[in-house]
């Protein structure tokens, strides 16, 4: 072992942190080399002196200071910082209540809004159809001509029936525009009254019971059946409108 190698190991040697082989080689070297042996002796002496110098005196008040700091902290946060301060929780609760209120109101008004808007759309479509020369684009009392007419015009096939024998002859059909969508409109007659039945895919496949709504002297009857939403509109009385529903 050369001196420069040995000098790098002397320190670890006196700490007993050398491998057995390194320690043995170092021992052999220092036995032969006076200079390295001198360094080793100096290191050992310095080490002894530092060891016996001991720690810096601990101020007596430090322990009580630390204890006090820990007690204060533990009082603030009993589970070491997990529990939040009371005002944080109050603020969080307040924010939660606020959000629920806003969201709740928004959802309710949105539902009411969309329902009212749809009703308005349906009614407008009905009135508009009466203002025109004819409420129908395809005039036929035959369901087998009317139903295929919708092919390619809309993406669903509404059920078309002709309850003429029941006093509700099928006059024909047309396309209309309700709630931002193209919808099928079937036109039935009842004496001199015109009944528009709008049909479009329902948001859910569930059937719902018919609901009768009166608006500006018109009667609107709506229900879901077979995955389709139906809106029947007419100036016909509600009872007769419900009769028509039974035949469709």
């Amino acid at each position: 072992m050369r001196c420069d190698e040995a000098q790098q190991l002397i320190s670890a040697g006196i700490d007993g942190e050398l491998s057995r082989t390194n320690a043995e080689e170092l021992r052999e070297h220092t036995q032969a080399c006076a200079s390295c042996a001198g360094v080793a002796a100096d290191f050992r002496r310095l080490s002894q002196q530092l060891k016996s110098a001991g720690r810096e005196i601990l101020p007596a008040r430090l322990e009580s200071r630390v204890r006090l700091a820990l007690t204060e902290m533990a009082a603030d946060a009993p589970s070491a910082g997990v529990r939040r301060k009371p005002w944080v929780r109050q603020l969080a609760a307040l924010a939660a209540v606020f959000l629920i209120a806003v969201f709740g109101t928004w959802t309710v008004t949105r539902q009411v809004d969309s329902e009212a808007r749809l009703q308005q759309d349906v009614l407008s479509a009905h009135v508009r159809s009466l203002l025109q020369e004819s409420p129908i684009q395809v005039a036929s009392g035959d369901p087998h001509s009317v139903k295929p007419w919708f092919n390619g015009r809309i993406e669903y096939a509404p059920e078309v029936k002709d309850p003429a024998t029941e006093g509700f002859p099928l006059a024909g059909a047309r396309l209309d525009y309700i709630g931002g969508k193209r919808v099928a409109a079937l036109v039935y007659k009842r004496r001199l009254h015109v009944v528009n039945v709008f049909v479009w895919p329902a948001p859910s496949a569930e059937d719902t019971a018919p609901r009768l709504i009166s608006n500006k002297g018109y009667n609107l009857l709506t229900w879901n059946h077979g995955g389709l939403t139906y809106w029947a509109v007419s100036d016909l009385n509600g009872a007769e409108l419900q009769q028509l529903k039974a035949f469709l």
Partner: protein, 186 residues
């Protein structure tokens, strides 16, 4: 048992070691006290992350971090602090006794005497912090290289070479100090 009681039982026995390391890193008694308090509060907050085993290296690593943060904030001029200030006797320090850390001085300490102690500590105080901390951890705290590596966050090999260089430095400075004193004596 509350978490605080558990923590105090584990950590407070090492208050002495924590204070010693803090003192040797910042070389100011009031700062060392503040650092120890700060470090113990941080350690308590982080006690949940302590993996068990010997708490001393874990605690000393926190003390060291706080002390280094303190040093970088303080950064007052050069890193060389007035030795006179660090070693001047303070109020409450009883002459002679002040140098003895433990209540019962070891036979070695009595043999070496106060003067010798002052000289070696003065030499230590003049070393850069990176050398000071490995020497304090090795010689005073008597930690293994692996434990020191853990505390200062370096590989064991770095601890080994740093200690070797620190001792070399100390030897040079201690030698010059001794020579100076001999000259003064003449």
């Amino acid at each position: 048992m509350s978490p605080r009681t558990t923590f105090e039982q584990c950590a407070l026995p090492h208050l002495d070691a924590a204070h010693n390391l803090a003192y040797w890193l910042v070389r100011s008694r009031p700062d060392a006290e503040d650092i120890v308090q700060d470090a113990f509060v941080r350690a308590f907050r982080a006690f949940g992350t302590f993996r068990g085993g010997d708490i001393k290296p874990w605690l000393l690593a926190i003390v060291r971090n706080v002390a280094y943060r303190w040093l970088s904030v303080r950064k007052r001029g050069s890193n060389v602090v007035s030795i006179e200030e660090a070693f001047a006797p303070r109020e409450g320090d009883v002459a002679g006794e002040a140098w003895v850390a433990s209540e019962e001085p070891s036979p070695e300490a009595q043999l070496i005497g106060a003067q010798e102690r002052a000289r070696v500590l003065t030499a230590l105080a003049e070393l850069p912090p990176a050398f000071r901390e490995v020497l304090v951890l090795r010689e005073i705290e008597e930690l293994s290289y692996a434990e020191i590596a853990n505390i200062i966050g370096t590989p064991v090999g770095t601890v080994m070479s740093r200690l070797s260089r620190a001792r070399g430095e100390l030897r040079t400075r201690f030698g010059t100090l001794s020579e100076k004193e001999e000259k003064n004596a003449l």
